[in-house]
C-alpha cells in the first residue's frame, strides 16, 4: 500500500509499504522526521503521534484505552484525529493513506 506523510513545513514523504507492519515502523524505516517510536510500538512513549487526514479518519478507526491515555501525554496538541501510528496497521484498505506529522 502507498502512504504519504505530510511534514510540519509542508514537505511530504511517500512510501510503498507492506501490509501487516505498523505505520510507526514504516515511518521509522523511511526516516520520516518527527516519528520516533521509542518504545517499539508498546504504548509506552507517544513519540509516533500523527493526525490522520480527515478523509481517512473513519478507515483507521479510533484509539483504544491505553492509546487514548497515551495521546494525552503526547508532546504536540491532541486533536480529534490524533492517533499513535504504532497502533495503525498497514492494510490494503488503507492504500493511499495520508498522515500529518505534528509540529514539535
Amino acid at each position: 500500500m502507498k502512504v504519504t506523510w505530510t511534514l510540519p513545513g509542508g514537505d511530504t514523504r511517500m512510501a510503498e509499504i507492506e501490509a501487516g507492519i505498523s505505520l510507526m515502523e514504516a515511518a521509522v524505516a523511511h526516516d520520516v522526521p518527527g516519528i520516533i517510536g521509542e518504545c517499539g510500538g508498546c504504548l509506552s512513549c507517544a513519540t509516533c503521534h500523527v493526525y490522520v487526514d480527515d478523509a481517512w479518519a473513519d478507515k483507521t478507526g479510533e484509539a483504544e484505552e491505553f492509546e487514548d491515555a497515551m495521546l494525552d501525554i503526547a508532546a504536540a496538541e491532541r486533536r480529534p484525529t490524533s492517533r499513535l501510528s504504532c497502533q495503525i496497521q498497514a492494510h490494503p484498505d488503507l492504500d493511499g493513506l495520508v498522515l500529518h506529522v505534528p509540529e514539535e
Partner: protein
Amino acid sequence: MTVWTPGDDGYADLTSHDAFANGVPHNTFSRLRCEDPLHWTEYADGQDFWSVTRHADIAEMNKNTAVFSSARGIRMEDQSYEEYLARRTFQETDPPEHSQTRMKLMKAFSRTTMAQYEEDIRQICVDILDDVLEKGTFDATKEIARQLPMRMLGRIVGLPDEDLPWLVEKGDALIANTDPDFTTHVLDKLDTDEFRMMPFNSPAGAELYAYAKELMEKKEKAGDTSGILNMILQPAKDGSVITDTEFRNFFCLVVAAGNDTTRYSIAAGIQAMCHQPELLGQMQEGGDIWDTAPDEIIRWATPAIYFRRTATQDHEMHGKTIRAGDKVLYWFASANRDEDVFDDPFRVNLARSPNRHLSFGQGGPHVCLGMWLARLEVRVLFQELAKRISAIEPAGPHRFLRSNFVGGIKELPVTVRMA
C-alpha cells in the same frame, strides 16, 4: 586489534564485576557481535545465560515481551520467587500489568511536563558550575555530574534539599552494590543473606523504606497530595492498588535509578570532551547540535549496561534454541557500539543522526520513564558548561565503577580553563 578497553583480551568474563572495572570490555563484545551473537555464557554464581550483543537482535527481542518476559527478574543474579516478590517494581512486570502502573506516572514524566523544568535545571547548573569551575582542578563526577540529578530529584519527588545528600548516598549503596567505594555490603562478596528481601539485596533499602514511610506520613498530615509518590499510590484503571512493598521498591527505584544514570551520562560526556577536544568548540557553536548531542552523549555513556529477560517458551535464533526458562541478557552497552548501526561507534559524534542507541531500552515497553528528563538535564548542563570554559583536560586517570550492570565513571579528575 584496536584496543578500546585496557586489560580486555576479547575473552572477558561477563559475569565478573572486575572485568568491567576498566570500563565495559568492548573488545569482548566486539568479538561476540561478530563471531557468536547469541552466546551461551557460563555463570559460576548462578544459572548460565544467553548473551545477546547485536543491536538488531536486541531491538527485535525487546518488543517481544510475550516470549522474553521481565516478570522473573531483570538482573543477572538469580532470585528465589519470594525474593523476587519482595523486591519487584513495575520494571519486573510485563504488559498489561506493566502498562497499568506506568500509566499513572506517564504524565509526570512526559516530554511536555519535563520541558517546564528547563529553567529550574538551568539555574541549578549555573549554581553548580559557579561553585566548582573556579577551583580549576576537581573531580567532575563528584562536583558536577553527581550534583545535578541529585538536586533535580528533590524537585521532582518533592523532597527537602537537606535530605538529598543522604538519600543519594543510600541510592548509590543500592545500585552500586558491587563497588566497595559505595557500600560495605558488596553483593558478590556477601556472606549473609540477611538483606535478600530488601531492594537490591541491600541494607540501604531498609533505610530508604523507613524514610519514605515517614515522608508519606508527614505529607498526609499536611494534606499534601502532590508529587509522583502520591501518583503511584492512586488506584490503577482496573482498580488495583500498589502494596506497601511495591511502594517501598518504587521509592528506592526513583532514588537509585533516576540518579546515577544521568550522573554517569554527564560524566561520560565530560570524559569525551577531555579526549576529543573538538567537542567543546562544537558545543560553543551551538545551534542544531543541541538536538542531537544529548542522545550521543547518552549513547556514549550507556549507564544501564544490560537488562535481563527470561524466555517463556522455546525460541530459535542464530541456529540455536533458547529454551523456556532460560535467562537472556540484552547487552545494551554492546548494541550501542554495533558497527552495523553506528558509523565509527567508538567516537563521539555530537551531530549523529539518526541515533538509534538503546541506552533507554528503546524498542520495548520498559523504555526509560525518565528519558526526557535525562536528555534535558544533559543538554542544559553541557550548554552551560561550554559557555564557561575554554579548555578541559584530564588531570589524572579516571576510574570506573566496579559493576557489570551500571556503567559509570566514578572518579573523573579534570582541569578546566575559564573562558
